[in-house]
Structures are given as structure tokens and as C-alpha cells.
């Protein structure tokens, strides 16, 4: 049983890490603000949740796991909300998303 839990947490940690790095690269390479926001917003919360889940499995039951659960809960609340507020503020601030790109139209989610 322990072996599976370890393997599982290992997988979670790695995918979380990978997601984080991809988010990082995304934030750098994307042309305009809103696509970057999309990249960062999504990976941020998901990568955090995955890594923390991996840690929870490592820590087993107990106070530490409860604390980790709190953090996941808190992050899953604040992450998307911050991204949402940021998007509205940017829109409001007059920052036009890049719609009319000639060759490929980045799918603005």
C-alpha cells in the first residue's frame, strides 16, 4: 500500500511541477496580456493543487494534512478570483485583447 501512495504522490508532484514550468514558459512566450493571463491563471491553481495533494499523500493523516487541505482550499478560492479581478480591471483599464491577428487567431478563452 505505501508503495502505491508514494508512487502516486511522486506522479502528482512531477505533473504539478511540469504544469508549473509550462505556465512559466507560457507567461513569457505569449504575445499579449490576456493570453498570458490565461496561461498563468490556469496553471497556477492547478499546479498548486497537484503539488499540495502530492505532499498530503506524503504526510499521511494528521494535522499536517489538515493544514495542507486548508492551503489548497484557500488557494483554490483566491487563485481564480484574482485572475478574474485582474482580467476585469485590465479590460476596464482599456487594454484591448489582441483579436485581429492576421495569420492565427489565438483562441481567447
Amino acid at each position: 500500500m505505501a508503495m502505491i501512495v508514494d508512487a502516486l504522490s511522486w506522479v502528482f508532484l512531477l505533473t504539478g511541477g511540469f504544469l508549473g514550468v509550462s505556465g512559466g514558459i507560457g507567461i513569457l512566450r505569449f504575445p499579449d496580456f490576456f493570453t498570458r493571463l490565461h496561461a498563468a491563471g490556469v496553471t497556477d491553481t492547478l499546479c498548486a493543487a497537484l503539488i499540495l495533494l502530492g505532499l498530503m499523500m506524503q504526510a499521511g493523516w494528521g494535522l499536517v494534512a489538515v493544514k495542507l487541505a486548508f492551503i489548497i482550499l484557500f488557494l483554490s478560492f483566491t487563485g481564480p478570483v484574482a485572475a478574474h479581478a485582474l482580467a476585469r480591471a485590465a479590460l476596464h483599464g482599456g487594454l484591448m485583447p489582441l483579436l485581429h491577428r492576421a495569420e492565427d487567431d489565438p483562441s481567447k478563452s
Binding site: 504522490s9 511522486w10 508532484l13 512531477l14 504539478g16 511541477g17 511540469f18 508549473g20 514550468v21 505556465g23 512559466g24 514558459i25 507567461i27 513569457l28 496580456f33 498570458r36 493571463l37 498563468a40 497556477d44 491553481t45 499546479c47 498548486a48 503539488i51 499540495l52 502530492g54 505532499l55 506524503q58 504526510a59 499536517v64 493544514k67 495542507l68 486548508f70 492551503i71 484557500f74 488557494l75 483566491t78 487563485g79 478570483v81 484574482a82 485572475a83 479581478a85 485582474l86 480591471a89 485590465a90 476596464h92 483599464g93 487594454l95
Partner: protein, 96 residues
């Protein structure tokens, strides 16, 4: 295994930092700060496990809290100039 996670987090923090420096518009910088904040939360959590003292998590929680508050604060200030005002109509005192 922890080391791999920490390395990944550190790399993302570096990338976020570069974006923070280069970011043309202010919103890019806010985004980079927000992402950097959540990554530090992860860094603390994983580092706590790496050094065998998992009771560091209170700090990680405070980080997440502070990160959220500063993001909201930045948005508020940037838009309406006054933290006191509950963001009244946009036509009055538009963000400079």
C-alpha cells in the same frame, strides 16, 4: 522527488521574475507578482517537507493570504486612486 518539485517551482519563479521585469503593461507585472506569490507558497510547503519540519505550513498559508490581499490592493489603487473609496463610478477619477 521533493528536489525535482522544488527545482520546478524555482524555475517557474525565475520565469515569473523575468516577466515582471519585462512586462510592458502594468497588468503584466501584477500578473507576474501574483504568480510569483503562489509559487513561493509552494516553495515553502515543499521546502518544509524537504527539511523534515512540516510545521512550516502556517507561513505558507499567510503567504497565500498576503498575496491575495496585495493583488486586490494593487488593482484597487491602480484603478481608482483611493483605497478608501469603494470604487465609485468609473467616470469620476478614472485611473491615470
Amino acid at each position: 522527488m521533493f528536489a525535482a518539485a522544488i527545482l520546478a517551482v524555482l524555475v517557474t519563479m525565475g520565469l515569473a521574475l523575468i516577466r515582471a521585469f519585462r512586462g510592458p503593461t502594468v497588468y503584466d507585472r501584477i500578473l507576474a507578482v501574483n504568480m510569483f506569490g503562489t509559487k513561493t507558497v509552494l516553495f515553502i510547503a515543499v521546502y518544509g517537507f524537504l527539511s523534515g519540519r512540516p510545521d512550516f505550513l502556517d507561513i505558507a498559508l499567510v503567504y497565500a493570504l498576503i498575496n491575495f490581499i496585495s493583488t486586490v490592493a494593487v488593482l484597487k489603487f491602480f484603478e481608482y486612486g483611493g483605497p478608501g473609496r469603494a470604487a465609485t463610478t468609473p467616470d469620476e477619477g478614472e485611473g491615470d
